[in-house]
Amino acid sequence: MTQAATGTSTERTVHRRKGTGSGTGRTRSAVTLLVLAALLGVSVTAGLAIGSVHVPPGQVWGIVTHALGADWQEPDWSRARETIVVDVRAPRVLLGAVTGAGLAVIGTALQALVRNPLAEPYLLGVSSGASLGAVSVIVFGVTLFGPFSLSVAAFVGALGALLLVYATARTGGRITSSRLVLSGVAIAAVLTAVLDLLLLTTDRGNETRAVLAWTLGGLGGVNWGTLWLPSTALLLGVGVLMAQARNLNLLLAGEEAATTLGLDVARFRARLFVVLSLVTGVLVAAAGPIGFVGLMMPHIVRLFVGGDHRRVLPTAALGGAVFLVWADIAARTIAAPMEIPVGVLTALCGGPFFLWLMRRDARRGTDRGVA
């Protein structure tokens, strides 16, 4: 009895000394954001500088500012270098940043929506659905929606896969980790098989090769003319999710509790599933299915800023952007002149991370831990 009382009073003193709680959280999150923003600047510069032709960082900025119309440096570079930086590398680096940021926020939101820390568009078969949709358009030559056909089909495929996984994984209002991952894997396997079947039976040889490369995830082949679509999708996704950040927090309390806190859970989930599928579809159409970014980033940034989505979303976005820009630099340079699909590299990092996360949850013995 006496011991318990002493314990409590010690705790109180400790926490009084620590000062105000929310203030420290906000400062930490601001610092994290600033550091990540600086890191993104460095990463983008590196992405523009590194490659078969090395461009010094100072020159990179000279070229970039020149292209933006501000000449703070006398041009001392060749036309060829300018073309490499502005027309070849810049769209690719930006697509990497956009895709990384997008996948990270999608992963963050999915983890809250299905209330499971292992949720991620790639693992849940959502990316496979998007791929199948996109590839069907290529193979069957559908052009119903003009230049948007690919993205629209990818969106439909993503939404279909997401709904299927959600419906099969959910029993009695709960989704256990094992069931979620298993149905994700199974559905991804089926979708991938259908996709392979499509590719093998189609007689358009050249397209098959191109599609095959694309299904491994890669940022090549983007140009200024096609970059705006994934960028718009990212802005839409981040905008919607930031506006809904409080409601995403409520889901962490559980479905019943979220209802009593004023959230119409079924409707909210349905709407966000559509938004997330849309963004996933557009990103997959642009960069192929790139896995594990959406799994890793939310967990890593939560270590720094805690679980509040108002802080997790922007930091995860920046973290994802930094990560994928570097992953792409590695993909271009490790085996140069050959290029490794960036999805292969993210899986190399992400697979072990997934296993670590699974073990951690099992140790914590949470109710939703891997059964």
Binding site: P117, R246, A257
Partner: protein, 261 residues
């Protein structure tokens, strides 16, 4: 207004062919503390779920201050009715203060930040359940009892006029059982709660509803309804009911089937 009036009229709830709740009527006048008691599976939680809008009754009505609870927008409802439910929270590294801050959500507009007023309400909610010292701790590292108090603080931060709680004293040690129930008792808010412990229910509630197989078998002030006959019928055990000399509340002692020795 600080307290709402609740009236449940002829609510029936079925799951498949099974009746979870059968034709239950119940009222809570503004400021009353109403206890639901009954054995496991008697329908306490199901009845509460029809009140805090998770299970829609098949027939009957739930009315809060005269308005049909089930035709109100969920958000509007959450400004009037708060609940502490038996549903585990996820481990997403939220600090206690952030968990309690969720209670402010139904009062916030899209993208609105937390104001100093919100911070004040969160602090006083935490103080009310003796959990101010936990504010900066990660929620998922708390003990069961600490979590329960924090969840009650979250409900208080909602500034409800009706508070619904499903077994709020579960997982609590006796000191915190008494302190939590004491907090609830002192609230000006109308309180409806399911309780396991008949003695605590008898002491802290103005009136009790005894549920058995989804139906109300008795209702009224504890001293009037807690009788050996009722307890034998509902719980299937022998019991003695006396009046505690110090508290004046009914005191239930269950008698084991076979006497010791």
């Amino acid at each position: 207004m600080t307290a709402s009036e609740l009236s449940v009229d002829g609510v029936t709830l079925t799951a498949g062919a099974r009746h979870l709740v059968r034709d239950v009527s119940l009222t809570a006048r503004p400021g009353e503390t109403i206890g639901l008691v009954g054995p496991n599976g008697s329908g306490k939680s199901s009845l509460l779920r029809t009140v805090y809008r998770v299970l829609r009754p098949d027939t009957g009505q739930v009315r809060v201050d005269g308005g049909d609870a089930w035709s109100m927008p969920v958000r509007h409802m959450a400004r009037t009715v708060a609940a502490v439910v038996q549903d585990s929270a996820a481990d997403f590294d939220l600090a206690v203060r952030e968990v309690v801050a969720m209670g402010r959500t139904p009062h916030k507009r899209l993208l609105a930040g937390d104001t100093p007023e919100d911070a004040g309400l969160i602090d006083s909610a935490l103080r009310a359940v003796d959990a101010a010292h936990l504010a900066d701790r990660p929620f998922d590292r708390l003990s069961g009892g600490e979590r329960q108090r924090v969840l009650i603080a979250r409900a208080l931060a909602q500034q409800p006029t009706l508070l619904v709680l499903d077994e709020p004293t579960n997982h609590l040690d006796i000191r915190h059982q008494l302190s939590v129930l004491g907090v609830l008792r002192r609230l000006p808010t109308t309180v409806l709660l399911a309780l396991h412990d008949l003695n605590l229910a008898a002491y802290y509630c103005d009136r009790l509803y005894v549920l058995h197989d989804g139906e109300v078998t008795a209702s009224g002030p504890p001293a009037e309804i807690l009788t050996p006959r009722l307890l034998a019928e509902v719980y299937g055990v022998a019991a003695e009911v006396g009046t505690h000399p110090r508290t004046g509340a009914p005191q239930v002692t269950f008698l084991p089937e076979e006497p010791r020795g």
